[in-house]
């Protein structure tokens, strides 16, 4: 009974609706009744676990922070200790390590305040939980010592350092050597020399680990954290931030906004962001925004615009403004895999691209680098910017899919083939036949768009498959519904229902290294004129990983330029 009464009174205290008599009763129960005290302790225990579950670092962020600390401690130990012993006024204190700011804050508090510091934060939080702007509770709700709203507590009088240096080596602050434990303020410029490193820690536990050759200006600490990364690289493990006050890292090329996540920002000729956990929002100099989720990367280019990931393409062909009978592979990976036109009379080059009809292009050498890269990663993205000709849409429905780009051996063996049309819809859908350890040599069953997206206009289409086999199609940068086509001899029975994503079973493995990359038609001369895709090619690229929706949007935007 006493435990039930104690919990009732605690509920009143939590809601701020407890009067003096009830407060005294609760205090008496907690002091004199072990059963009541145990019940309230169990309640507090679950409260702690819930708050920890809601607010603590994610598993990945925890590991990233741990790795940064281990690296920093390895690189700084003896030198820092020697410097601290000579110059740090706090060196005699008992090993506060990275808690220096917090420890100093506690030491500065009055003993009476410390007496209630253990329990007050969690109870006063129940009255005014995480107000979001750093405000603190001033209405005591704990029946500990007599208090009034003006009673000093650890919460409302302690000058907690908002930003401190956890580790530092080879680092200066506004030109002065930086020591661990230093308290930082806005407008300071942190400079990490070659071979150095520094880890900053905000009061909420957010950390920023900066590597060598980094220049970081602290623009604002609270409310809202704002850092300007001029050069170098910083890995951030960001705790959940108050609503309206995210952490923002600005660079010469744009900004990165994090609510609660782990990511690395590197500034060189462009700004590169790699996200380990959570989601960050990038904004470039002209205001274009994109979100990057865990596992994703993005880049803000030197001209300000979010840069598409062209440099990660295994092969890249830009048909715009071309001439002659060859198309150069513009990718930066491996030996160039150039294409040559076959069965061509006069190539129809225009500023917009290459118009092809009853002919196609084939790589001059085996597409070994494509096969090896995709087999190694188990992932694939095929991107094409093109303008289907109405003739494609009206051509013989038995000749499908029309060949857009593929890695093929002959008419019936291939590693992949992006085409237009299948039995279910001979003209309007896009279709991917992919050879996996479970699919046939023809790449069946195929994955196709659920709707007919091929129209006689300029558009972009992309197929992605990640390491777990999840397959998606994107048209004009937007994800579209897909379906599996098991049996293309039966237009109705052999298809799955439309879905946002389907799984292509099996692994990408054992692709033939001697296959050629073909565009617009099969490589076999006898096949020319059959299954040829008709239209204008603008850009084609193949990647050995599954690009993110944001990256595909940048590719789509890029092809409009």
């Amino acid at each position: 009974m006493s435990s039930q009464r104690a919990l009732e009174l605690k509920a009143l205290a939590d809601s701020g609706d407890i009067d003096d008599a009830q407060r005294s009763e609760l205090e008496r129960l907690l002091r004199d009744d072990a059963e009541a005290r145990a019940a309230v302790a169990d309640d507090l225990l679950v409260d702690r676990l819930l708050r920890y579950r809601a607010e603590s670092l994610t598993g990945d962020a925890f590991l990233i922070g741990l790795q940064a600390r281990r690296a920093a401690e390895r690189s700084s130990t003896s030198f820092i200790r020697a410097v601290r012993a000579q110059a740090d006024p706090h060196h005699a204190r008992p090993a506060p390590r990275r808690f220096r700011g917090r420890w100093l804050a506690l030491a500065a508090s009055a003993a009476a305040a410390l007496a209630v510091a253990v329990i007050l934060p969690e109870w006063s939080r129940s009255v005014d939980p995480r107000s979001g702007d750093g405000a603190v509770a001033t209405t005591p709700t704990v029946p500990t010592v007599p208090m009034t709203p003006s009673t000093p507590t650890i919460l409302n009088v302690t000058p907690i350092a908002e930003l401190t240096v956890a580790t530092a080596s080879g680092t200066t602050l506004d030109g002065v050597p930086l020591r661990p434990g230093a308290i930082l303020a806005a407008d300071m410029l942190l400079a990490v020399a070659e071979g150095g490193g520094a880890t900053l820690r905000f009061a909420d536990g957010t950390t920023t680990a900066c590597s060598e050759s980094t220049q970081l200006r602290i623009e604002r600490i609270a409310p809202g954290k704002s850092l300007r990364l001029e050069s170098g690289s910083c890995a951030c493990a960001v705790r959940p931030q108050p609503a309206g006050h995210p952490l923002v890292i600005r660079t010469p090329h744009g900004s990165v906004t994090a609510i609660g996540t782990s990511f690395t920002v590197s500034v060189g000729a462009s700004t590169r962001v790699s996200v380990a956990a959570g989601v960050v929002r990038l904004r470039d100099a002209i205001g274009t925004e994109q979100e990057v989720a865990a596992g994703g990367t993005a880049e803000i280019g030197a001209i300000g615009a979010l840069a598409p990931p062209w440099d990660r393409a295994v092969v890249l062909y830009d048909f715009r403004g071309g001439t002659g009978d060859r198309v150069a592979d513009q990718s930066t990976r491996g030996e160039p895999l150039d294409l040559r036109l076959v069965d061509v009379g006069a190539p129809a080059w225009t500023a917009a691209g290459l118009a092809i009809g009853m002919h196609g292009l084939v790589s001059e050498t085996p597409a070994r680098k494509v096969a090896e890269a995709c087999c190694a990663s188990g992932e694939l993205t095929v991107f094409a910017s093109l303008s289907p000709d109405p003739a494609t849409l009206a051509s013989d429905p038995k000749d499908y899919p029309k060949r857009i780009v593929g890695l093929t051996g002959d008419l019936s063996t291939r590693s992949f083939l992006l085409g237009q049309g299948n039995f279910a819809d001979p003209t309007g859908v896009f279709d991917m036949r992919l050879r996996t350890s479970a699919n046939t040599d023809r790449g069946k069953p195929s994955v196709s768009t659920a709707e007919a997206h091929a129209q006689p206009r300029r558009l972009s289409v992309a197929y992605t498959r990640d390491g777990d086999g999840r397959s998606h199609f994107y048209v004009d940068g937007e994800r579209v519904d897909v379906r599996i086509v098991w049996d293309d001899s039966d237009p109705t029975a052999g298809r799955s229902d439309p879905a946002a994503s389907v799984t292509t079973v099996g692994r990408i493995a054992d692709w033939d290294r001697d296959m050629l990359l073909t565009v617009g038609a099969e490589r076999d001369a006898d096949a020319h004129g059959q299954r040829s895709w008709i239209g204008t090619l603008h850009v084609i690229a193949v990647f050995d990983r599954s690009l993110t929706p944001a990256e595909l949007q940048t590719l789509h935007r890029e092809r409009l330029r």
């Binding site: 907690l30 409260d47 819930l50 809601a54 607010e55 603590s56 922070g65 510091a117």
Partner: protein, 195 residues
Amino acid sequence: MEGERAVTDVDEFDLVARAKAGESAALDALIRLHQGPARAFLAARLHDVSMADDLAQDAFVIACARLDSFDPSLPFYPWVHGIAHNVLRHHLRTRRAVPTDPHDLAALLDQTVHERADRLGDHDHLDLLRHCLEGLAGTTAETVRAHYFEARSLSDIAEVQGRSAKAVGVMLVRARKFLHDCLLARIQGHGEATA
């Protein structure tokens, strides 16, 4: 953290051997494997979330630095748990270096929280809690989510739900009681399953 203990002892011994040989991926895997219960141990005993994370990282930094001294024939987690326990003890001793009132009610209650946490034993309470949260339903589940995971105050929740803050407080106390009982039940079940 969730579900990361589902590897066999053979896997762990292999990971320890590889980590001791300097393979960083094996060390990372060991940390992933054991961070859940270690962090839960500290989270239950500290009201400061970031401090719990800090101390958990401290424990693993020490474990990594002293890995050479670890006997690979022994289970890894008890060793890490011992380090975490020492880190916590050191932290509490340091914090209480400033004299406090021995009769302070807050200290008494905090001591009781520690004792009650000890009673729950050495498990990944955070993972167990995840399952228990799935047992909440309706308004109670919404209230817990709003208060803990959306940082809404009791008065805000009360306004949205059209009830008093006191009623919301009572609802949360009952929800925590349910979760505590669920944790105990799952821990007892876990003990039977592994006995």
